[in-house]
């Protein structure tokens, strides 16, 4: 990100755009507009229209075929007093904490190890990234059998070392741990590769200077590596938040549309899917989607504030210069 800071100044050699004729921008640049239009047309049809329509739907009662019935704010009223919705919100955040914190820590350690001079570097990078491109369905079957209550490897191992079996797929915490394990398995390598890119962007001069000054490994790690990696860490936290709030596939393929025993694996998006596409209650599904939008917005604002506040006091960085 040091490079990004210098780019605040205009690049040399780029002249200001001259104002030649007083013609409208569309009249002058229509071929360019036409050339970029496919994306916007598609976005309009498949992106913006469904978004706008879902706002409209959230004020209706609709089963997908029969005529819609306007219900005003009833869907939102129901949502606020719906214990299943709040259970889903709680589950989503618990699973997000339980997966993101160990995942990012592991990823940082992996990236640090990969950054050392070791043999078969390329192999390890591919190997760590592989879980991210594995089929989710295959993965759910494997995890389902690994964590199987009475037939799984994990419980066999626990019994072998004299511990009690854990009902991984039929207890509230077991389900959350299993889903978190799936998320960690899938995204640790992905984040490690991003950290590795960040590590490689740190100038070696800094390390050399620190060594000359007699800093030990821990000092180097905490005073150079972590601060220099901070923007990358924030980036992974933001992407993990987005991914965590949208968690759907893992619980759905592992436990089905109802989120397992006690709905312990029911996440917000799974609940939305459940209501809209298995209960055919599209109005309520839309209301859940907008509730998720509000929750995600709150998190976006928190993230943004964190970045700004941390950026202002130190080292003469300008407000909003990074990110």
């Amino acid at each position: 990100m040091a490079a990004a800071d210098t780019r605040v100044r205009p690049e040399p050699g780029v002249a200001p755009v001259p104002v030649v004729r007083r013609r409208s921008a569309i009249g002058r640049f229509w071929p360019q507009y036409l050339a970029v239009s496919p994306f916007y047309l598609l976005f309009l049809v498949f992106g913006l229209f469904p978004i706008a329509f879902s706002i409209f739907l959230s004020f209706q009662d609709w089963d997908g075929i029969a005529p819609m019935r306007f219900v005003g704010l009833a869907q939102y009223q129901f949502l606020l007093s719906d214990p299943r919705f709040w259970n889903a919100v709680g589950n989503t955040f618990l699973i997000w904490f339980m997966s993101t914190i160990p995942m990012l820590f592991l990823a940082l350690v992996l990236a640090f190890l990969l950054h050392q001079n070791i043999r078969f570097k390329g192999f390890y990078r591919v190997a760590y990234f592989l879980p991210n491109v594995t089929s989710m369905v295959a993965m759910a079957i494997v995890f389902g059998s690994i964590f199987s209550d009475s037939f799984g490897i994990v419980n066999s191992a626990l019994t072998a070392i004299g511990l009690d079996q854990v009902p991984w797929l039929s207890s509230e915490w077991g389900i959350k741990v299993t889903i978190s394990a799936m998320v960690i398995w899938r995204f640790t390598g992905y984040n490690a590769i991003i950290y590795l890119a960040g590590l490689q962007a740190i100038p070696t001069e800094l390390y050399d200077a620190a060594k000359v000054d007699g800093a030990n490994t821990w000092r180097i790690f905490s005073s150079i590596t972590v601060p220099m990696l901070r923007p990358v860490i924030l980036f992974t936290v933001i992407t993990s938040t987005v991914g965590g709030l949208g968690l759907f596939t893992e619980p759905q393929v592992l436990l089905g549309d109802n989120g397992g025993v006690g709905e312990a694996g029911m996440t917000i998006v799974l609940y939305q899917y459940n209501q809209a596409f298995t209960q055919f209650d599209f109005g309520y599904g839309s209301a859940i989607a907008w509730a998720l939008f509000i929750i995600a917005s709150v998190f976006a604002i928190i993230n943004w504030r964190l970045i700004r506040e941390r950026d202002t006091p130190r080292g003469g960085r300008k407000k909003g210069a990074s990110a």
Binding site: I65, A74, L169, S170, S171, E172, N258, G262, F277, F280
Partner: protein, 428 residues
Amino acid sequence: MDALNRRRFLGGLGVVTGAALSGTLAGCGSSTSISADPEELVLWYWNRSVSPVLLDQAAQEIPGTDKRLRADAIGGGYDNKLRTSLAGGAYIPDIAAINSNCALYFPSEDQFIDLNEFGAADLAADYFEWKWNLGTTPTGRFCFWPMDTGPTGFYYRADIFADAGLPDDPESVGAAITDWDGWIELGQELRANADVAIINTAGMVFNQFLNASPERYFDRDDNPLYEADGSAVRDAWDTAIRASEAGITARLPVANEQNAAWSSGRTAGHIEAVWWANVLGDTAPDTAGSWRVAPQPVRPGNSGGSFLTIPRTCKDPEAAYAFITWLTTPEHQAETYNEVQLFPSAPESFTSGTIASELGFFGEQDPLEFFAEAALQVPTTFVSTYEAQAGAFATELANVEAGLKDPERAWDDAVSQTNRNLTKRGVI
């Protein structure tokens, strides 16, 4: 590069975009059927729901008509795809298979043709009355034609029963479990003698109790029945709780584990429809030959089974009706059973002489004879559209079995959640 300059490129782009847009608009305007060919009727179905041999025949010509059939096998999310077409009023199949959840379509019954217009009532006597009834909407329109059915029975491992010192031939087992108390007692003996469960979950008991009950969640006017004391739902709930408390269920809520429990012999029984033998044969082929099926407590029920329907936009409803009646004649249903093991909806299929039993999975026992007898005793009942809103009962039952909730609190929660859902949907 001079062959493709900017002007030409943009001109070409314009033509392509224009063609695409006009094509889309034309599609929105006229094409309610998914096929533009007037000689062709389109059937939507899913794999193994119709006999492929009969489909091939109809693809040449639907007997008795001048039309041909195009059969589109539709993958996952079948209901979502069909509902999307119906809601959009475009690309609708001329004939559609619908699963046992046909009640889901009752509020939009005007989307489908009343088959009585073509004289369906004259053929009613050829089919199981209870199945015919399931395809009739609360307003009395007959929109869903009976395809296959799913009479249920009590499956059990005869070898494990024998080792545990229990009766192991279907007659004695059936005699021991004429009511649910007898079944629970048998389960307790099995648990005591062999430490084996008689069924995997309490939820299975609950479901199959209701599937065999003439009363379900709602009456024909969609008034809720479950809350009343002594309702069928409450009886099913209490029976399931008793089974769970007696310790005769394996308490395995996850499908993976259930299959493992049956194939490893940790669970020695199940109550399910005729099609379950195929599922089990595929997942646990080693256990073939050791299973038997006995009459379940009280009476058999129905689980699964599908229907055929003609959307009102059908190009040629008369030809479509000719197709569905031809496809489901007793002879053709017997043929379909021999090919893809769909259990017939017409009793005559069993006496026509062409239906063939597949022995082996049930040892010397003839499953066809058993289920044909069971199908005659399935009670007539009413499945409401709004049963989908009553999923809380099964969920809460699983919570009780997992030890998360006390049974009475779970029941109250299930009732209040269902009532809340129904209030939201404007039903009560």
